[in-house]
């Protein structure tokens, strides 16, 4: 069923920026030289040295802690108790409601009640993300701006996305192939979305945000379930079985299929982008002793989608993750995780293709060196091997490499007083291109009352160079038109954040965060002394700023209302004398505001949900703002059966969300879910 393909389409391996806007590159039959990947022995040695330096880090960085008293706990609801991270091992060492960062959480309930069938559509529920659907299966997702520009081949690349601890942004260009990241929606426990930098814990690429997708324990998905949705535009189905082998071992296996029809281009022509995907996977949770838990999960994925003017693109992926967590009697926790991940994309009929395999080892240790304080430290080592077979004028030279990445971090939460916490952290990361990056952060949180928290943070993050920055070669006919820059530097961010989280009444909760981001060495398109080839430079700098606010209000047990508003501004510049090719809009064309309103009602077995969103126009592009409404009506019949009516984009026949994007149509789907 799932095989490694060897087709692909030149530049189209980047997700769904299509020919409409892309530089049209003619097919050119040159086969690039292939050199085998250079081993980065030096990086490995540095990583080992870093690991040795960890005790030093512990003693010289302050560490964050949980200062929970029984009094605090007593005032919490039972749901809030269930949300307290007592392990500190998930790198967010605090209960989410107290983490000093702009975190929103998409709960399982929200996911099921949205009726969304794909991960990007689920992410529309996060008030601090911007989601642009570019085609039937293509998405661009950002936090705090920088949505890129297809014309300038600037692809959104400043988000870190984790699925059960496995990083899914591709090392090839630091973006995410959203059409390769699926989890059956009902298996998701929750999604934590952090806007703002998280580099101190998660390393390079956690520049503008972190999306942390956590799936359910296999013990929570027992029994047989079958669910499906079908409509005129999209269909999906999932079959799952969860069982136990003895008291200590639970497992589940699933198979899911998705299928979507073609959209139309902005001009109304068929976009030929119909798509199909088939995915299967399993998760196994084993608790051999009271102190140890082991989980093993994996997925296999295959699919294809159509493209305009060229053969279909195929996608293949597979991953396997093993994690061991040991909870010592003294409360310390040790976690060791290893994963392998395979991704391949290619265009049929002799187009280009690539594969990339990633091997990752990650260690984390959380301890309580002092009552009320928490120290988390850890290290990771990652190797990514790839082979890119160019075609259509796009090549990577060398075509194959092995990229070694190593890092070590420590973060301490220190309770200065009962109500004041200081979180200090440092990550050192050694990447294959520029060596060691130092990624510090400082956070302070203050709880003037049990219902109020104010936090502030200063942190630094970087986006490391990738093969797309250093190795790419693009041809127009026989003319070398664009060449990567081996001296490309990291893109750097220093972020200042201030936020508050309030619960003025039991039914009302609010979160407001403001940020000021100072960027330097952002990627720009530059000319060479002979004009061509163009190359990448680091000549853009500037700042962005904004406010994100969201809140929920629950006037009655049966009714929850939510609202959000993001305001955004930016100003980027070239240094004096720069050629300013393609302008500052190559960084992105981000809406100045985004707002949403949601309503969620339950009447016994019937649930009614509506989510309205309004997105501002994109300033440097001819994409007007739009407002849309998604909705769902669900009807549970007994414990085993639920019927639903799911609607997306009810307000208009179609709308366009991204420059060069296709028409995203209104759609209605009927859904059935049964569980035994």
């Amino acid at each position: 069923m799932i095989q490694i393909s060897d087709g692909w389409s030149g530049i189209n391996h980047f997700p769904d920026r299509d020919d409409q806007t892309k530089l049209r590159l003619e097919r050119y039959d040159r086969v690039p030289e292939r050199r085998n990947g250079e081993k980065r022995g030096a990086s490995l040695r540095i990583a080992i040295k870093l690991a040795g330096a960890v005790p030093l880090l512990i003693s010289c960085t302050a560490r964050p802690a949980l200062a929970q008293t029984i009094g605090d706990l007593q005032s919490m609801t039972i749901d809030q108790l269930a949300d307290i991270d007592v392990s500190s091992v998930s790198k967010t060492a605090q209960p989410l409601s107290q983490a000093p960062a702009a975190i929103s959480v998409i709960t399982r309930d929200m996911i099921l009640r949205s009726g969304a069938t794909t991960l990007p559509e689920i992410l529309r529920l996060a008030p601090n993300l911007q989601v642009y659907r570019t085609s039937a299966s293509g998405y661009v997702i950002t936090a705090r701006g920088m949505n890129g520009s297809s014309e300038a081949q600037s692809y959104s690349n400043k988000l870190l996305v984790l699925i059960d601890g496995r990083s899914v942004y591709t090392p090839l260009y630091s973006g995410v192939y959203w059409d390769m990241q699926e989890v059956p929606p009902s298996d998701i426990e929750r999604i934590e979305v952090i806007s703002g930098p998280g580099a101190t814990l998660w390393g390079a690429n956690a520049v503008n945000g972190v999306i942390n997708i956590i799936t359910r324990d296999a013990g929570a998905t027992q029994g047989f379930s079958a669910s499906g949705q079908a409509g005129a535009f999209e269909r999906s189905a999932t079959l799952q079985y969860g069982g136990r082998a003895g008291a200590a071992l639970a497992y589940r296996v699933y198979l899911s299929a998705n299928d979507g029809d073609s959209t139309k281009t902005a001009a109304g022509q068929p976009a030929n982008d119909d798509w199909h995907r088939l995915q299967g996977g399993f998760r196994l949770d084993w608790t051999p002793t009271a102190a140890d838990s082991i989980s093993l999960h994996g997925d296999l994925l295959g699919g294809r989608h159509g493209q305009i003017g060229t053969a279909d693109e195929t996608i293949h992926g597979g991953n396997l993750t093993a994690r061991w967590t040991h909870q010592a009697v003294n409360g310390n926790q040790l976690q060791l995780q290893a994963y392998v991940d395979h991704e391949a994309r290619g265009t049929l009929d002799g187009g280009g293709h690539f594969w990339i395999n990633t091997y990752d080892l990650d260690l984390q240790h959380a301890l309580t060196p002092w009552v009320g304080d928490t120290l988390v430290w850890g290290g990771d080592l990652r190797a990514s091997r790839y082979l890119i077979t160019g075609a259509g004028g796009l090549f990577f030279v060398p075509a194959a490499r092995t990229l070694w990445l190593g890092g070590a971090f420590a973060q301490n939460t220190l309770s200065l007083t009962h109500r004041l916490d200081l979180v200090t952290g440092l990550k050192l990361e050694d990447d294959p291109y520029v060596g060691v990056s130092v990624l510090p952060s400082l956070r302070l949180s203050w709880r003037p009352s049990d219902k109020t928290m104010v936090w502030g943070a200063i942190s630094r993050a970087v986006r490391s160079p990738t093969p797309f920055d250093t190795d790419v070669e693009e041809y127009l006919g026989s003319l070398l038109y664009l060449k990567g820059n081996p001296d490309f530097r990291t893109e750097k961010l220093t972020a200042f954040e201030l936020g508050t989280r309030l619960q003025p009444a039991k039914q009302l909760s609010l979160s407001v965060s403001a940020y000021y981001n100072l960027y330097d060495d952002l990627r720009s398109v530059e000319i060479s002394p002979t004009l061509l080839p163009l190359t990448w430079g680091n000549r853009l700098s500037g700042h962005s700023y904004g406010v994100e606010m969201w809140g929920t209000y629950r006037p009655f047990d049966w009714w929850t209302l939510s609202a959000s508003l993001d305001l955004f501004g930016d100003d980027y510049r070239f240094p004096p004398g720069a050629i300013e090719l393609v302008g500052v809009s190559q960084i992105g064309t981000d809406p100045r505001q985004q707002a949403s309103l949601g309503s969620s009602m339950t009447f016994g077995p019937v649930s009614i949900d509506a989510n309205f969103r309004q997105i501002g126009s994109l300033p440097y592009a001819d994409v007007p703002g739009y407002a849309e409404l998604d909705g769902r009506i669900g009807w549970s019949i007994g414990h085993h059966l639920e019927l639903s009516l799911n609607a997306e984009n009810l307000l208009h026949r179609w709308h366009v969300e991204y420059p060069g994007g296709y028409r995203i149509p209104r759609q209605v789907r009927i859904g059935v879910a049964c569980r035994f």
């Binding site: 003693s59 949980l66 919490m76 324990d217 009271a290 003294n330």
Partner: protein, 182 residues
């Protein structure tokens, strides 16, 4: 304690930990047990006891049988809490029989001291007592079992056992459970 003193203490403590290494005996996971103690005092409103299960004029009682991992935390957590208008009290015992078990509305079965876990649970079987164990610490059985799921204190519910004891568990609590056995 002043901020400076605490900072100094932290530096001393972290250096000590780094020096002694993993063998260092850090204070236990106080938060984990504080959360479990809070759960025990908050389950009440989500359970329907049959009429007469709670004495009309008496308090509702949380019994801790065997090793008590909570200490004063659970007394503090139970303070000012109620079940159906009955004030909540905490009693500690090494062993129970059917008679003494009947005086409990909620029974937390800790690591055994004088009586095996099976015998303790057997004594409460058939009585309207919400039995709770801590599987994350190696004691399993009863209606509710604490587990650690993704760093959070959560629980499994054995609805069949609750039915057999005449207890009704609200849908809200069932929804919070990691797993429900029927």
């Amino acid at each position: 304690m002043s901020v400076l003193t605490r900072l100094f203490a932290l530096v001393v403590a972290t250096v000590a930990v780094a020096a002694v290494g993993a063998a260092a005996k850090a204070p236990g996971s106080a938060l984990e047990f504080a959360v479990k103690a809070s759960y025990l005092t908050k389950f009440g409103p989500f359970i329907h006891w049959p009429p007469g299960a709670i004495p009309d004029d008496g308090p509702a009682q949380i019994c801790l049988v065997g090793v008590d991992p909570f200490g004063a935390m659970i007394d503090a957590a139970a303070h000012d809490q109620q079940i159906d208008g009955h004030p909540l009290t905490v009693a500690r015992m090494d062993a129970v029989d059917a008679k003494s078990a009947a005086s409990c509305q909620i029974m937390f079965v800790g690591k055994p001291t004088a009586q095996s876990t099976a015998d303790t649970l057997h004594a409460a079987a058939g009585l309207p007592v919400l039995t709770v164990t801590d599987r994350s610490r190696g004691v399993a059985g009863g209606i509710i079992e604490f587990v650690i799921s993704d760093g959070r204190v959560r629980f499994d519910i054995d609805q069949g056992a609750a039915d057999a004891d005449g207890l009704q568990i609200s849908a809200k609590l069932l929804a919070l459970a990691v797993a429900v056995r029927r």
